[in-house]
């Protein structure tokens, strides 16, 4: 499990030269580089399909309570009466019926469809929050290190190296139960929000390094450009320089790294839940469901099928969209 979603992306060029792409239409108002990228993105069929799929998933996740209302079944409701004496759901394909679209969980008898919808919500929330936090930390540290250089650059680089050297999985395995124990004691009921928070924090601590390196490299390349000197000659301050002059030029790689980081965090969350250090059983999540379903791989294969397909579709759509986004923002970059 690697937490550096942007390896290889650092090669993406700083400025997507719009002249190389579509010829700029000659209107009265010029098209910004962003508008040109948007046009290219809209013309890319993969981008449109995966983008629509992503929007669909996000709407599903956001509207989970509404879907629950329409569906009429909650994520914690148990339907023991639909299970046989061994705790297996009655009927075919894990108990798929008109009432329970994706069937029921063995033993507990909870509805898989509504748990998947809520699991989608959890996964997307964790992944987006972690990606946003890591991107923010990475951009600020990388931009400062790249622009100011000197001892600050050395210190930030050293911290980055240190973070990269730490084994993510082992620390996550060791840290998560310890932190939970510290806050809740032996028997305390761990709230789902706390588990989510710990996961996001773990991702934030380990995930910012690649963005920081990417941004640092890009800023160093931009720093020597004459428009930066022109801004300095006009007397701009550090904040204006970083966020008004430099950042608009490196949005493209940051956006791409962000869109590729999200699926990484989704799979990481699932993986951590799978090995048992992620979320508790209480919180619906893809990893947890797959972990629970492994016991029933032979007796109830439908149980692993639905979450598996769902996580596959989600991550696949994100990766395709990230690639398409890179192509649109950066038409000259090679794979």
């Amino acid at each position: 499990m690697s937490l550096s979603p942007v390896e290889g992306l650092a090669l993406a060029e700083i400025e997507s030269d719009p002249d190389a792409g579509t010829p700029a239409a000659k209107g009265v108002v010029g098209r910004s580089p962003g508008q040109l990228a948007w046009l290219r993105l809209r013309r890319d069929r993969t981008a449109v399909v995966s983008g629509v799929l992503l929007v669909f998933f996000m709407v599903l996740g956001l509207a989970a309570p509404l879907i629950e209302m329409a569906y009429g079944i909650g994520p914690r409701e148990q339907f023991q009466n639909l299970l046989d004496g061994f705790g297996m759901p009655l009927g075919y394909a894990g108990g798929v019926t008109g009432d329970h679209w994706f069937g029921l969980e063995p033993n507990l008898g909870r509805d898989i469809f509504i748990r998947l919808i809520y699991g989608l919500r959890t996964s997307l929330f964790i992944a987006f929050a972690a990606a946003l936090i890591t991107a923010t930390i990475g951009v600020v540290l990388g931009a400062l290190a790249g622009y100011l250089g000197g001892w600050l650059d050395a210190v930030i680089n050293w911290i980055t190296d240190l973070t990269l050297a730490m084994p993510f999985l082992i620390i996550a395995l060791a840290l998560t139960p310890t932190v939970t124990l510290r806050f809740y004691g032996e028997r305390g009921q761990v709230s789902s929000a706390f588990g989510v928070g710990v996961l996001i924090a773990v991702f934030a601590v380990f995930g910012w390094t690649s963005t920081a390196r990417l941004v640092r490299g890009q800023v160093i390349a931009l720093r020597e450009r004459e428009f930066v000197e022109a801004a300095r000659a006009s007397g701009v301050g550090l904040g204006h320089m970083l966020f008004r002059q430099l950042l608009p030029n490196i949005w493209a790689p940051i956006l791409v790294s962000f869109s590729l980081a999200v699926p990484q965090f989704i799979t990481s969350e699932a993986a951590l839940s799978f090995i048992g250090v992620g979320l508790s059983d209480e919180t619906p999540s893809f990893g947890r469901m797959i972990y629970d379903s492994l016991d029933f791989l032979q007796t109830d294969p439908a149980y692993v099928f639905f979450p598996g397909i769902m996580i596959f579709a989600l991550v696949f759509a994100f990766n395709l969209f990230g690639d398409a986004l890179r192509d649109a923002l950066d038409p000259k970059s090679s794979r």
Binding site: E226, E229, A233, S234
Partner: protein
């Protein structure tokens, strides 16, 4: 034109340390002790071959680089080591135009934002609003004010350079350092931009430090010319004197290299042999002596001072200045 100089530069020096690991192993003497003045409304042309320190000098004048030693006085104030706060009012009077019109404009900003940037950063609210002022500036440099919302990639090199000029003019400076403003442009566009700068100078009373390696452009534009070689000024004087009666052998060699369609063959061409010595370890004494055909023992032993000759109009740093007849007749321009 008053005699009080707008810009007074004394002993200006920039040394870049060369590091291998943590040890400083040497010094690149990019600029090594420059003295010159620029009076209000005057243009000083700074000419020399690549690597002689012209650009470094320009960057130090607008304080993009910190001088190693020496002093820069602008309008009577010493600005050599002024901090960011002290520089603020100064930035408005001292601006720079860059060489590469493709790199000097932020590709993600509209033209309007680029030209407005100096105004906004310095908190200046022109009467009629920033947009009106920006459009006025665009018109001043010969661009269509309706191009306010366009992006740099939609313009040609010459137009981009005009945008850069508009940005430099936004704060109504007194002195503009033009760092090879036309050398990245086509010859036909060069003339347009140089003429634009000249008209602006007349209309707005600007002083220029005009850095170039093109002697023809310098001659067209500058009232006074300083010739640089390996980080030092070897000769400085009025345009006519420099071009017609060069006293330093290097100036003479430079001028003789201008292609002249009226002369066939390599008649007056002085061919310099060898390369420019490394600024890591410049020659002792006169820096030009390794390539000079007149070099004597004294040139290696003693560094010639930049002394005024011809009644003070022209200063030459040479032990054996040329006193020969003018090499060119003044071509009526």
């Amino acid at each position: 034109m008053t005699d009080e100089p707008l810009l007074r530069v004394r002993g200006l020096t920039k040394h870049f340390p060369v590091r291998q690991g943590l040890r400083a192993t040497g010094l690149v003497r990019a600029v090594d002790g420059l003295d010159f003045d620029v009076r209000p409304g005057e243009t000083l042309g700074l000419v020399g071959e690549s690597g002689c320190g012209k650009t470094t000098t320009g960057r130090m004048l607008v304080r993009l680089l910190e001088p190693t030693s020496g002093s820069i006085e602008f309008d009577g104030r010493d600005i050599t080591h002024a901090g960011r706060r002290e520089l603020r009012p100064l930035r408005q009077e001292l601006q720079i135009i860059f060489q590469d019109p493709y790199a000097s404009l932020n590709p993600r900003h509209t033209v309007g934002r680029i030209v407005a940037m100096p105004l906004q950063v310095n908190g200046i609210k022109p009467p009629g609003g920033i947009k009106a002022r920006v459009q006025e500036l665009l018109e001043l440099v010969g661009l269509n004010p309706e191009h306010y919302n366009r992006y740099p990639h939609e313009f040609s090199g010459g137009q981009r350079q005009r945008i850069g000029i508009a940005r430099a003019l936004a704060l109504r400076p007194k002195l503009i350092v033009a760092d090879e403003p036309v050398s990245a442009l086509d010859v036909s566009i060069q003339a347009q931009v140089v003429n634009l700068l000249r008209n602006l100078q007349r209309e707005l009373g600007l002083a220029f430090v005009f850095i170039a390696h093109d002697l023809a452009v310098i001659r067209h534009f500058s009232q006074r010319v300083a010739v640089m070689y390996l980080g030092r000024i070897v000769e400085i004087g009025d345009r006519a004197d420099i071009y017609e009666r060069p006293q330093h052998p290097y100036t003479r060699a430079l001028l003789s290299a201008i292609p002249d369609v009226t002369q066939l063959g390599p008649a007056g061409r002085i061919r310099l042999t060898g390369d420019v010595p490394t600024p890591l370890d410049p020659p002792s004494g006169c820096r030009f002596r390794t390539r000079c055909w007149k070099a004597q023992d004294i040139c290696a032993a003693e560094e010639p001072a930049l002394v005024p000759r011809d009644g003070g109009r022209q200063s030459t740093a040479c032990h054996f200045p040329e006193v020969a007849a003018p090499i060119f007749e003044e071509v009526p321009s």
